[in-house]
C-alpha cells in the first residue's frame, strides 16, 4: 500500500507553456509532486509529458510559466542546475559511456568526496558497490558498460541519480525494456524510495503500471493537463475507462481486431521458417533454432522484451542479415540467405524497427525514398538516367492514402516520426507483398497515426498477406494478432492464441520459461 505523502510540495510547475517552431508541446500546465509521493504522469506518446519533464530538469526552458522547488521559484538552464535542486531524470535510452566502467559513469560530473581534482578509481568502485547494495540495485561496479545487459544498464542509470542524492527522481517509461517480473521489482524499489522520503515521477502510457505503483496520477493530452486523480488506497475502484478518456480524449475504439472468419479456409502457406539460426553483429548467438508458420492473411504477433533476438530474427527473414542456419520459405519458394533482393523478389516486405536507421535515407527526398526497392524495375529509368517525372508521379499515387505534410521533394530527415512511418508503410505495401514483417509499428507515434497504422496492418492481413508483427507493446500485440509467439533468449518459448490470452502466462514465457509442450 503506498504510504501517506507528507503534503510538502517537493517540485511543481505552474501555468508552464513550451512552444517549438510550429507546435505547442505544453499549454499552461499545472503539475505538483509532493515529498515522499509516487506521482504518475500518464499520457499517450506525443502528449508532451517528456517535454514537461525536460523542463523540470533544465534541458529546456519554459516559454511561459514558472517552476518551483520546495516552494521557491527557480530558473534552471541545464541539467546541472536541476541536479543542484535534487532533480534527476532517467531517460528511456540511457546516456551511458560504453567504454567507461559503471563506477566511472556514476561518478561522471560529480565528486565522491568533494575533491575537485583527484579521481581514485578503486575507492569509487567500492563506494558505488556499497550504494548499489543500499538501494538493492545489484550491479558490478568494475565492469565496462559495453558488457552489461539492458536491465543492468537501467539500474546503473537509476543508481547514478540516487548516488547524487536525488530527492525527486523522474523515470521515463522505465518498464519498456523490462520483463513483467523485473518491472515488479522496479515498482518495489520505487515504493521503497518514496517511503524513504524521496519523490518519484513515473512517466508511462500503460494503465496497469500506473495503477500498480503510484499514489496520484496526472493525465496529459496534446500538451494540456486533463486532470489529477487520487489513487492511494482505492486504486482498484478507479474507473479505467474514465482515465483512458482523459488520456485519449475521445472513445478510441481500441478494441480488438475483428478476426475475419478465415481460420477455417485451407491455410495457404504464407511464411514458413525451419530451424532458423542467426548471430548478431558481435558474433554471439541471437536466434536459436526457431520454427514458425504464418498462414496467408494471419497476423502473428511476436512479443518479448527488447534485446532477445527479435531484431536479428526480423532482419534474417527479410534477408538484410545473413542466416547462420535454417530455411525460410515464402509461399513455398525458398529464399536465399542474406539477399535482400531475393527476399523482395519472393514477395517479402519489411518495415524495420529503426525507421531512420535502416528504413529511410534521411538526406534523400521522399519521392526517391519511395522507389528505394522498385527503382531497378526500369519503370522509372531511361537507360541509366532517372526519370524524375515518373518518380514524383509514383510518390503522389502512393501517398494519396495518407495526409502527409510536405511534398515528395521534402527531405525525409525533416519529417516527423509519424510521417516517416507513413512513407515507409506506403512503400512496403506498394508491392502487394505475400509476407509483411513489421517491427515496433507504432513506437513514438501519436494517437492519430497509430490508428492509421493499425488499420493498414489489418487491411494487409485481410487482403491475404501473412503478417509477422514484432512489438514490445503487449497490449498492441494482443489487440491485433491472431496468435502470439513469445521470444526470450533467442528462442520461441511459447505460442498462444491472442483471444483471451493470460498476461501472467505471457510474462513467464517472456522470462524464458518454456511452454509446457
Amino acid at each position: 500500500m503506498p504510504n501517506e505523502p507528507d503534503r510538502r510540495v517537493a517540485l511543481a510547475a505552474y501555468a508552464v507553456t513550451k512552444r517549438f517552431p510550429g507546435v505547442v508541446a505544453n499549454d499552461n500546465v499545472d503539475f505538483e509532486v509532493l515529498g515522499g509521493e509516487v506521482h504518475a504522469l500518464l499520457g499517450e506518446n506525443g502528449s508532451g509529458k517528456t517535454t514537461l519533464c525536460k523542463m523540470l530538469t533544465g534541458m529546456y526552458q519554459p516559454t511561459a510559466g514558472r517552476i518551483e522547488v520546495d516552494g521557491k521559484s527557480v530558473v534552471m538552464h541545464s541539467p546541472a542546475d536541476a541536479h543542484h535542486n535534487g532533480i534527476f531524470m532517467v531517460h528511456q535510452h540511457f546516456s551511458l559511456v560504453e567504454r567507461l566502467t559503471v563506477a566511472e559513469n556514476v561518478m561522471l560530473g560529480w565528486s565522491l568526496d568533494g575533491s575537485r581534482i583527484r579521481f581514485k578509481r578503486r575507492k569509487a568502485e567500492q563506494e558505488v558497490a556499497r550504494l548499489a547494495e543500499q538501494y538493492e540495485m545489484p550491479v558490478d561496479a568494475g565492469k565496462m558498460i559495453g558488457d552489461l545487459s539492458i536491465g543492468e544498464r537501467q539500474r546503473v542509470e537509476i543508481l547514478k541519480a540516487l548516488c547524487r542524492g536525488a530527492r525527486v527522481l523522474i523515470l521515463d517509461e522505465p518498464t519498456t525494456v523490462l520483463t513483467p517480473q523485473e518491472a515488479e521489482r522496479l515498482f518495489a524499489s520505487v515504493r521503497g524510495l518514496a517511503k524513504a522520503g524521496n519523490s518519484v515521477i513515473f512517466i508511462s502510457h500503460k494503465l496497469h503500471e500506473v495503477l500498480a505503483v503510484s499514489d496520484r496520477v496526472s493525465v496529459l493530452r496534446r500538451g494540456v493537463m486533463t486532470g489529477t486523480v487520487e489513487l492511494g488506497d482505492h486504486a482498484a475502484a478507479v474507473d479505467r475507462k474514465e482515465l483512458a478518456r482523459m488520456m485519449v480524449g475521445r472513445e478510441i475504439e481500441l478494441g480488438r481486431r475483428q478476426r475475419a472468419a478465415r481460420a477455417q479456409e485451407a491455410a495457404t502457406a504464407g511464411l514458413e521458417i525451419k530451424e532458423l539460426v542467426v548471430h548478431n553483429d558481435l558474433g554471439t548467438l541471437a536466434v536459436d533454432r526457431i520454427n514458425l508458420n504464418v498462414a496467408a492473411g494471419e497476423v502473428l504477433g511476436v512479443a518479448g522484451v527488447a534485446g532477445n533476438g527479435q531484431r536479428e530474427f526480423a532482419e534474417a527473414i527479410a534477408g538484410v542479415r545473413p542466416r547462420s542456419g535454417g530455411e525460410v520459405f515464402v509461399g513455398g519458394t525458398p529464399v536465399r540467405s542474406g539477399r535482400p533482393l531475393a527476399a523482395l523478389a519472393a514477395g517479402m516486405a519489411f518495415v524495420p524497427e529503426d525507421r531512420m536507421g535502416i528504413g529511410l535515407a534521411s538526406g534523400i527526398d521522399v519521392a526517391e525514398n519511395l522507389v528505394l526497392k522498385s527503382f531497378r524495375t526500369g519503370a522509372f529509368s531511361r537507360g541509366p538516367l532517372i526519370r524524375r517525372g515518373r518518380v514524383v508521379d509514383n510518390a503522389n499515387t502512393l501517398l494519396s492514402g495518407y495526409e502527409l505534410r510536405g511534398g515528395p521533394s521534402s527531405l525525409v530527415g525533416q519529417l516527423s516520426g509519424g510521417n516517416a512511418q507513413k512513407v515507409l508503410l506506403a512503400r512496403e505495401m506498394a508491392s502487394q507483398p505475400k509476407v509483411l514483417v513489421i517491427a515496433a509499428p507504432t513506437r513514438g507515434l501519436d494517437v492519430g497515426v497509430t490508428e492509421t497504422v493499425r488499420k493498414l496492418i489489418a487491411e494487409a492481413a485481410d487482403s491475404g498477406t501473412a503478417v509477422v508483427m514484432i512489438s514490445e507493446d503487449l497490449d498492441e500485440v494482443l489487440d491485433l494478432a491472431d496468435r502470439v509467439a513469445v521470444m526470450s533468449g533467442g528462442r520461441i518459448t511459447g505460442i498462444v492464441d491472442a483471444e483471451g490470452a493470460d498476461v501472467e502466462e505471457i510474462g513467464l514465457l517472456m522470462m524464458g520459461q518454456e511452454q509446457a509442450a
Binding site: D365, A367, R388, G389, V392, D393, N396, L399, S400, G407, P408, S409, S410
Partner: protein
C-alpha cells in the same frame, strides 16, 4: 493530392544551385571590376626608360645559402647602376609556375632576367623569349641541347676553395678524420668533395675523409641529420655543400670546427667556425647588366672560380688561430697559385677510390673532366648513390 507538386519539387533544388553559380560569378566580376577602374595603372614608363632587370629565386632570399649569395649579387647590381635600372625579384616554388612568373615579367617589359636555380631550366625554355637576355647558373641543356642565343651562363666549381678548406680542416681535427656533406651527387659537388679530400690529404696523408650524400638540397633537418651522422662517425671537422647553415649549427653545438659555404654563415655557430668558401657573383652580374645597358650583350659561358675572383677563402673564423703557422703559409701559397690559375687541385698523380690511376704525375684534369666528374678520389670513405 493535387499534382502541382509534380514539377515544383525537383526543380527548386536545381534553381538554388544555378542561382548560387550566377551570383558567385557576378560578384567576382563586380568586385574586381570596381577595383580595376579605381586603381591607377602602375606600369607607366618613366622618362628615359631604365633597363628592367629581374631575379627569379626558388627559395626565400634569406636562406643563408645559395639564394642569399645570389641576392648579394643582385644588391651589387642595384648599388652600381642605381636609377639607370629598375630591379625586382620573385620567389616561386619550382614547377609550371616558373613559366607564369617569367611570362608576367616579360609582359611587364623586363629585358634581363637572372634564373638562379637548375630546376627552373626544366620549365623555362629561353628560346621562347627571344627579345630577353636570360642569365643562368650552369646550363643544364634539357629543353634545348644547344644553348639559345639569348642565354648566357656561368659555371661555378669551387674545388680550389674546398682544397684550401680541406688543408685547414685536416690541420685542426683532433680525431684524424674530417667529413663533408655532399647534398645532391652532381658533378660539381663531387669535384668540390674531392678537392676537400685532396687538400686534407696534402696536410695529413693518413687522414680519413668521410663523404655522405643526402639527395636533398634545401631541407635543414635532413642536412643537420647528416652532420650528426658524420660527427657520430668520428669526423673532427666538417664541411657541407647543402644550402643553408644548418650543419654549421650542429657542429658549433658539438664544438667541432666547420667550413661555411656560399655566404658568410659564421653567426650561426661562431665559436667553432673555422673558415669559409664564399661566393662573390657581383662581377658576373655587373658584366651582364653593363652589356645589356650598352646594348652590347652577347651570349657567353663563364667558367668561374678563384681565378675569376668569384670565389674567395674566408679566414675570419674564431678557430682559424688554431691552424699551425706552417699550414697557414702553405694555404696562402696555394691560394696565390689558384688565383693566378697556375695550379689546379686535380694535378697528378690522382687515384680514384678504387685505386685506379686517373692521371699520372705532371698531368692535371682538364675542365671537361672536372665538369663531368663522377668518381671519388682514393682515401674517401663513402659511396656515391647509384644513378
Amino acid at each position: 493530392m493535387s499534382k502541382h507538386w509534380k514539377r515544383a519539387g525537383g526543380s527548386s533544388r536545381a534553381a538554388g544551385l544555378t542561382a548560387t553559380a550566377a551570383m558567385l560569378v557576378a560578384l567576382v566580376v563586380a568586385v574586381f571590376g570596381l577595383s580595376a577602374s579605381a586603381g591607377a595603372s602602375t606600369t607607366g614608363r618613366a622618362a628615359s626608360a631604365p633597363l628592367k632587370v629581374a631575379f627569379l629565386y626558388e627559395n626565400a632570399t634569406n636562406d643563408l645559402g645559395w639564394d642569399t649569395a645570389m641576392y648579394e649579387g643582385q644588391q651589387g647590381v642595384v648599388a652600381k647602376f642605381g636609377s639607370k635600372i629598375s630591379v625586382t625579384d620573385k620567389v616561386v616554388p619550382d614547377g609550371p609556375e616558373d613559366v607564369t612568373a617569367v611570362k608576367s615579367l616579360v609582359a611587364a617589359g623586363y629585358k634581363l632576367i637572372f634564373l638562379t636555380a637548375f630546376n627552373q631550366q626544366l620549365y623555362v625554355n629561353p628560346a621562347k623569349f627571344p627579345g630577353v637576355h636570360i642569365v643562368q647558373a650552369e646550363y643544364v641543356g634539357i629543353l634545348d641541347k644547344k644553348m639559345p642565343s639569348n642565354t648566357s651562363t656561368y659555371f661555378t666549381v669551387d674545388a680550389d676553395g674546398f682544397y684550401l678548406a680541406g688543408m685547414a680542416a685536416a690541420s685542426v681535427t683532433k680525431t684524424g678524420q674530417v667529413g663533408i656533406i655532399c647534398g645532391e651527387p652532381i658533378s660539381d659537388n663531387l669535384a668540390e668533395s674531392n678537392g676537400f679530400a685532396l687538400g686534407a690529404q696534402a696536410v695529413n696523408p693518413a687522414i680519413k675523409v668521410r663523404f655522405t650524400c643526402t639527395n636533398n638540397w634545401d631541407s635543414v633537418s635532413i642536412a643537420q641529420n647528416a652532420a650528426r651522422g658524420l660527427i657520430n662517425a668520428g669526423a673532427g671537422a666538417i664541411a657541407f655543400l647543402t644550402t643553408g647553415a644548418g650543419p654549421g649549427q650542429v657542429a658549433a653545438e658539438k664544438g667541432i670546427p666547420w667550413i661555411g659555404y656560399q655566404t658568410q654563415q659564421k653567426a650561426v655557430g661562431a665559436k667553432s667556425y673555422l673558415a669559409g668558401v664564399l661566393w662573390n657573383l657581383k662581377p658576373l652580374f655587373l658584366k651582364d647588366t653593363q652589356q645589356a645597358l650598352s646594348g652590347t650583350w652577347m651570349s657567353h659561358t663563364d667558367y668561374v672560380s678563384m681565378t675569376e675572383g668569384t670565389t674567395s677563402f674566408d679566414e675570419s673564423g674564431a678557430l682559424w688561430k688554431e691552424v699551425p703557422a706552417k699550414v697557414k703559409a702553405e694555404i696562402a701559397a696555394k691560394q696565390k697559385l689558384f688565383e693566378s690559375g697556375k695550379a689546379t687541385p686535380f694535378s697528378g698523380p690522382l687515384y680514384a677510390q678504387s685505386g685506379k690511376l686517373i692521371s699520372k704525375t705532371g698531368y692535371a684534369l682538364d675542365s671537361t673532366q672536372v665538369t663531368d666528374m663522377n668518381f671519388l678520389v682514393k682515401g674517401v670513405i663513402g659511396t656515391i648513390p647509384k644513378g
